[in-house]
């Protein structure tokens, strides 16, 4: 009986999460939206052909922009997260570490409240419509998330391990590099995915700080389809969405093998 409920629950959950994706893929291959209203379903590759190869839409460019911005900002954010998390975990007073969650407040800060100000600063610096402006803001906004994920993991690495490294003559930096970093691989992989996704899906900053095709990211590009055609081109949007899921899926599949637990097994009794 318990088992039955469990299976039922799992089925429901699977359908709940998968249905939109299946629908999205379906729609990306359909000529029009008629079949949703009971009309005939006609399959086609036109949507894909159009967004990838037509003159007006440079979807390929958006994907490349997105990959560059997300890839780099996630890297940068991770690079900063690890030392902060390590420092927090090992050197913050018990009092302070109780408040580490306040870090996340920064993420809860509505971006809209700062975007105008940032726009002026970036204009003054002359970096509007560059990757740099996006990478900087995305890194800053995703950093708390990165620190949070890395902190939770670093806390689980037995402190005696890095104490031992300190005694063995590695200073703080070498301890971090030779001990904490390799032990954090699983967390680094999952954090990277999260940070990447944050940047990949981010809209407001990307919309404000980009001016033309050269820097527009996927969400911005897709949002602008409407202006391009006067009506909402659902087929194009669905095809773009399906395509932009691809690199993320490949990334997750690739990183998955690092997301294994038990890496510190055998270290302490």
């Amino acid at each position: 009986m318990k088992r039955f409920v469990l299976i039922l629950g799992l089925c429901f959950f699977t359908i709940f999460t998968l249905l939109p994706i299946v629908l999205m893929i379906f729609l990306s291959f359909s000529e029009d939206m008629d079949f949703l209203l009971g009309g005939d379903l006609s399959l086609t590759f036109r949507n894909y052909r159009d967004i990838l190869f037509s003159e007006e839409v440079s979807f390929g460019r958006y994907i490349i922009n997105s990959l560059i911005v997300s890839g780099l900002s996630a890297c940068l954010s991770l690079l900063l997260s690890l030392p902060s998390a390590y420092a927090f975990s090992r050197f913050a007073s018990p009092f302070l570490s109780r408040f580490i969650f306040l870090f996340l407040l920064i993420t809860m800060f509505p971006p809209i409240s700062t975007v105008g100000f940032l726009f002026q600063v970036f204009s003054a610096l002359g970096i509007i419509n560059t990757y740099l402006s996006l990478i900087v803001t995305h890194t800053a906004w995703s950093l708390p998330l990165g620190v949070w994920v890395m902190y939770a993991y670093t806390e689980k690495i037995p402190k005696d391990i890095d104490r031992s490294a300190l005694i063995d003559g590695a200073g703080l930096f070498r301890t971090m590099f030779y001990i904490i970093l390799p032990l954090s691989k699983p967390a680094l992989a999952s954090a990277y995915i999260l940070l990447f996704l944050y940047s990949f899906n981010e809209f407001l900053f990307a919309y404000m700080f980009t001016v033309d095709e050269s820097t527009r990211t996927v969400p911005v590009g897709v949002a602008l389809f409407e202006g391009l055609y006067g009506q909402i081109p659902w087929g194009y949007i669905m095809a773009s969405a399906s395509l932009s899921v691809l690199p993320v899926m490949i990334g997750v599949l690739f990183l998955q093998k690092y997301i294994i637990g038990g890496l510190t097994k055998g270290s302490v009794r």
């Binding site: 018990p94 037995p158 005696d160 031992s164 490294a165 003559g169 590695a170 890496l263 270290s267």
Partner: protein, 347 residues
């Protein structure tokens, strides 16, 4: 010059849930160069904390640690561990899980910029000594507890520092190998002249290894001395009750008057003492100094035969005692009287 001087160390742990825990309450002792200094004490008395302080992993709240004439730890100073020329075997082993056994032992040497050839030579030597040569390419997760412990030991030894801190390095090794390791450790210490600070709660280990023995209790030093001296002449009832196999019987008796003279009494056994009537006197009696004969003041509650020795547990006159006999024909439930050959009065 004293090699290591620990002076009036106080340390309080602050943890989120338990609040403040005063772990060390004024610990002082001296360790001479080349000495095998053993710290013995019950679980939770602050031994590991003390080693962490000496290693420079934590800072004392009060007091000083002076290593080779230099103040390395005080509330204001904390020389980092790698500048103290020491290595440490952690109670938890603390191996590097992502490195092989070889890599684990190589790490301190790499950090010390020892060249590759020398590194390999030293590692092979120590591995041979600790019987882990066949494990050099394994990861810690593939080892048994005892093997891990020996790797931890090896990692501390390859570095050849002037001070080695060991926190119960043999606790997880089986009896026969333990004895062998004990001899090896002692031999290494003699040959290299390294100063060892060795924490254990195994008194056999302590007796066998120590040049100097320190007994700790609840963050305080109870007694320091040569092991035999501490064994023979315990200064406090706690030390007496902690050392020996089985440990000394410690009982408290009230002085009473018999024919106008002060006496103490334990079951059938009476002994003249000095002191006013009603005063509590704490005495210690080693199990081997109690002999049993048929009688009625004590009941034998249990009997343990270990080799050719017999531990006889007695109950009577409001106390529990243990007596040690050679051979012996005591039976559970039997009633006996005691004779005491020798005892010690604690003031």
């Amino acid at each position: 010059m004293t090699f290591l001087k620990v002076q009036g160390i106080y340390k309080t742990h602050r943890s989120g849930l338990r609040g403040k825990v005063e772990v060390l309450k004024g610990v002082s002792f001296d360790v001479e160069e080349g000495e095998f200094f053993v710290i013995l004490g019950p679980s939770g008395c602050g031994k590991s904390t003390l080693l962490n302080l000496i290693a420079g992993l934590e800072k004392p709240d009060k007091g000083e640690i002076i290593l080779k004439g230099r103040v390395v730890s005080s509330p204001r100073v904390c020389v980092p561990p790698h500048e103290r020329d020491l290595s440490m075997v952690f109670q938890s082993y603390a191996l590097y899980p992502h490195m092989t056994v070889y890599g684990n032992m190589e790490f301190p040497l790499k950090m010390a910029k020892v060249n590759k050839k020398e590194r390999e030579k030293r590692i092979r030597e120590v591995a041979e000594l600790l019987r882990i040569s066949h494990l050099l390419n394994s990861k810690p997760s593939e080892l048994s507890g005892g093997e891990r412990q020996r790797v931890a030991l090896g990692r501390a030894l390859v570095k050849r520092p002037s001070l080695i801190l060991m926190d119960e390095p043999l606790s997880n090794i089986d009896a026969s190998l333990k004895q062998e390791m004990r001899l090896e450790i002692k031999r290494i210490q003699r040959e290299t002249g390294t100063t060892f600070l060795y924490v254990t709660h195994d008194q056999i280990e302590a007796m066998a290894l120590a040049d100097k023995l320190m007994i700790m209790r609840e963050g305080r030093v109870e007694q320091i001395g040569e092991p035999l001296e501490v064994y023979k002449d315990p200064k406090t009832p706690f030390v007496a009750g902690f050392l020996g196999f089985p440990p000394m019987n410690v009982v408290s008796r009230k002085v009473f008057l018999k024919d106008g003279k002060p006496y103490i009494k334990l079951g059938n056994w009476e002994y003249p003492v000095e002191g006013p009537e009603g005063e509590e006197i704490v005495i210690g009696i080693r199990p081997e100094y109690i002999s049993l004969r048929k009688g009625k003041s004590f009941v034998i509650t249990s009997v343990e035969r270990i080799g050719n020795e017999t531990f006889v547990y007695l109950e009577g006159d409001g106390v529990r005692l243990v007596a040690k006999e050679k051979g012996g024909h005591a039976t559970e439930g039997g009633k006996v009287d005691i004779a005491v050959y020798k005892f010690k009065i604690f003031l």
